[in-house]
């Protein structure tokens, strides 16, 4: 610690304000919501302490909750499955395109668009053909009428329609991260490998993959946590409907807290979500640290 040659007091004095703010805006709200999860409270009037009653109802009596958890986890699985694809795209860009930066920035575009705009855009794309839905019109043009459907309102397909939009939006994001990771691998390593006869995919297998693992992990964690918290896009496109068919944990929490006015119950869902995120992060870290040990 003393490489900086400053006293402990200075270090404390400099990091204290940030630490305090961080605790104030991260941990205090989490704690308050954990506590509210133990209350029977409509958010306005008197509250009464009911212990773990909310959690008991949540886990054993709520017909919407577990399907919502399943959808959220599916969301996470799909987003994580996307990252190898992003990695492939990044590798191809690096190898075959002479000036890849322009393409990478273009792929990144959807990420900086507001989710509301994306939601509205894809809503129009998914619309029935009669309302100008592009997807259905395209299917009709190529003679696949039987494939047309109202993508956002059929319970069986609505959720997949949402997954797809999220994957589309974040492909560029993860491609950028992977691309930067690959660019940071020193080119001497590849040159040395080429002399030894390792080129193309062989070089990827033995150089790129092992060296990109830390970057890959960042992507995985971001994708996982991001999809656990998925809210805005679902809200804009379906609002959790039709009839809960696209509800995820966070929209269920919103519905309970603000529409059904069960603030305490909503808080217990929030607490569940926090804990789920923590556990997931720990597990992912565990898997990756063992992966890294194997490869390095």
């Amino acid at each position: 610690m003393n490489v900086l040659k400053v006293s402990r007091f200075t270090i404390v004095a400099f990091i204290l304000p940030c630490t305090l703010i961080y605790f104030g805006i991260v941990f205090v709200p989490i704690l308050v919501s954990l506590y509210s999860g133990l209350l029977d409270w409509n958010g306005i009037g008197q509250s009464s302490f009911i212990g773990f009653e909310n959690f008991r109802n949540l886990f054993f009596h709520d017909p919407v909750f577990w399907p919502a958890v399943r959808r959220t986890l599916m969301f996470a699985v799909f987003s994580m499955a996307e990252i190898p694809i992003a990695l492939m795209v990044a590798i191809f860009l690096r190898r075959y395109i002479r000036k890849p930066n322009f393409l990478v920035s273009s792929y990144f575009m959807p990420v900086i668009l507001s989710v509301v705009i994306i939601g509205q855009l894809w809503k129009t794309i998914y619309n029935p053909a009669a309302m100008g839905g592009m997807l259905n019109q395209m299917l009709e043009t190529v003679g696949l009428e039987s494939w047309t459907r109202s993508w956002l309102t059929e319970p069986a397909v609505a959720m997949f329609a949402l997954y797809f939009v999220a994957l589309w939006q974040y492909l560029g994001y993860h491609t950028l991260i992977q691309f930067t990771g690959i660019s940071n691998i020193p080119s001497e390593i590849y040159e040395a490998a080429r002399i030894d006869g390792a080129d193309g995919f062989k070089a990827d297998r033995y150089i790129t993959f092992p060296m990109i693992i830390p970057i890959f992990k960042i992507s995985i964690v971001l994708a996982f946590i991001g999809s656990l918290q998925a809210f805005d896009m679902v809200m804009v496109m379906t609002g959790g409907g039709p009839a809960h068919a696209t509800d995820v944990i966070s929209t269920h929490m919103y519905n309970m807290s603000f529409l059904s006015m069960k603030y305490g119950y909503g808080s217990s869902i929030a607490a569940f979500l926090v804990i789920l995120c923590l556990i997931a992060t720990v597990i992912i870290n565990f898997i990756f640290s063992s992966l890294e040990k194997r490869f390095s």
Binding site: F27, I30, L31, V32, L34, Y35, N42, G43, I44, G45, Q46, K123, Y126, N127, P128, A130, M131, S150, L152, T153, E154, P155, M237, T238, G239, G241, P242, A243, H244, A245, N255, F258, L259, S260, M261, K262, Y263, L278, T281, V282, N285, F286, F288, S289, E292
Partner: protein, 449 residues
């Protein structure tokens, strides 16, 4: 990498440690909130007449092209001119945002001086939490109370005190596009069975029969409850459920579900109805893409300024299986202005709202927005240039023989949400009526323990 693991572990540790201490922490919070409100009530006593005063006026008229927005601004400007020491600060939000904001504000006991609430069951939690000031004295002042339609204020009164004053009083009707009806060769239906036939004929001619914005699930519920009003043979079904005289498994309810499902099965609504929000649904009708539109009469103004103006008529929702009286309507006492009990300038706020509501009928009448307002309007609508459709709607008002309130105005929010989702589900999935009824009954019992 073990750094990450240890960081995560440390985080969980800190969390669990601090969780033990959180109990006392939030007790403190509550204490300070209480003392805060006590201070606020003391303040009006020490006010001086010329002190600068700011009154926050939260409202749901954000659209500058909406006549109500213009009226509000005009009245506020006028009031500023008459009372130089008072500033009215407008906080204009759309309905959903306002609902959410108010709930958040209520949770921290920071209700704006004037805010908007919905009648009956929807405002009850706020009244129970003593967030609103009783307005009885304000209603007596300048005879404001007498300007409201008889019985209307009852929806906003609890234990003999009135807590809010409404900007409207509407009924639900079916708007229809005369041109499209002619094109399909159908007539205005007088029974539900005829209505089904009309729907089928329209559908076969490639016209969307009924437009609905079912992403906002109350729209479907509003229509469904009108059907219950018919199959029940009169109003009061939900009240009977509350009074334990009936359950949701009553035949009146299941019959309405069946009727509703037959409408869906006949293809009455536009494809993908559950992804249309309120405005998108209404636009289908306003652009002449659908033949019918079931909505509260507040939609009249919007339809008048749309491209289908002049082609639109209204009819009453028909009887179902010969049951019910078409002159009973879904009643929609409007959103209402309430005053915060903790307002720092309670008296001044009441004076302003009194002034505002006294001038509201005259101004809306002149702005051609007086169809469906909650106060008695003097004046000749026809002579003032109101459209034929508006006159037709006004004519229906005279035939109203009572009716029911919307579901979420009668039942508590928990039950209402289950209901709204259950009805939304009927748009996409066929479900046995008895199952729907059971779902409702279970939700009702769960939410009224």
């Amino acid at each position: 990498m073990s750094k990450w693991v240890s960081l995560a572990l440390a985080t969980t540790l800190v969390l669990s440690l601090a969780a033990c201490g959180s109990n006392s922490g939030s007790k403190d919070n509550k204490g300070s909130a209480n003392s805060g409100s006590a201070n606020a009530t003391d303040k009006p006593a020490e006010k001086t007449p010329d002190k600068k005063i700011t009154i926050t006026f939260q409202n749901i008229y954000p659209d500058p092209t909406d006549p109500k927005n213009q009226i509000m601004k005009k009245l506020v400007d006028q009031y500023h001119a008459d009372h130089p020491n008072i500033t009215i600060e407008l906080d204009s939000l759309n309905t959903d945002q306002q609902k959410l904001k108010l709930k958040t504000q209520a949770a921290s006991k920071e209700v704006p001086d004037i805010t908007i609430v919905n009648p009956a069951a929807q405002m009850k939690p706020f009244v129970d939490a003593k967030l609103f000031a009783p307005l009885n004295d304000m209603l007596d002042q300048n005879g404001l109370g007498a300007t409201f339609q008889e019985g209307l204020l009852d929806w906003y009164s609890f234990d003999g005190n009135t807590y809010a004053v409404p900007d409207g009083n509407n009924i639900a009707v079916v708007y229809y596009n005369k041109e499209l009806f002619e094109q399909a060769g159908v007539k205005v239906p007088t029974t539900f069975e005829e209505m089904l036939e009309v729907v089928k004929t329209l559908k076969s001619k490639g016209i969307t029969p009924i437009a609905i914005g079912e992403k906002d699930s109350w729209t479907g519920s509003f229509l469904f409850m009108n059907m219950v009003l018919r199959t029940n043979g009169g109003p009061g079904f939900l009240q009977d459920v509350v009074d334990k005289k009936k359950t949701f498994e009553d035949p009146a309810f299941t019959e309405a579900v069946d009727a509703f499902e037959s409408l869906v099965a006949a293809g009455a609504f536009q494809e993908g109805a559950t992804s249309f929000d309120y405005n998108a649904g209404e636009n289908l009708f306003k652009t002449g893409k659908s033949a019918m539109y079931f909505m509260g009469t507040w939609a009249t103004g919007g339809i008048e300024t749309s491209s289908v103006n002049g082609k639109v008529g209204v009819f009453k929702f028909p009887t179902i299986n010969g049951k019910g009286d078409p002159n009973e309507f879904m009643l929609a006492p409007g959103s209402a202005f309430a005053i915060s009990a903790d307002s720092e300038h309670l008296q001044e706020t009441k004076d302003f709202l009194n002034y505002f509501m006294l001038n509201f009928p005259k101004e809306t009448f002149e702005a051609k927005g007086a169809v469906g307002i909650g106060q008695v309007v003097d004046g000749d609508f026809k002579a003032a240039g109101y459209s034929d459709m508006a006159m037709e709607v006004l004519g229906l008002f005279k035939e109203v023989k009572g009716g029911d309130l919307a579901f979420d105005n009668t039942m508590n929010p928990g039950t209402a949400q289950v209901h709204l989702n259950s009805i939304q589900n009927l748009f996409v999935q066929k479900k046995d009526a008895s199952e729907v009824a059971k779902e409702h009954q279970t939700a009702y019992e769960d939410n009224n323990k």
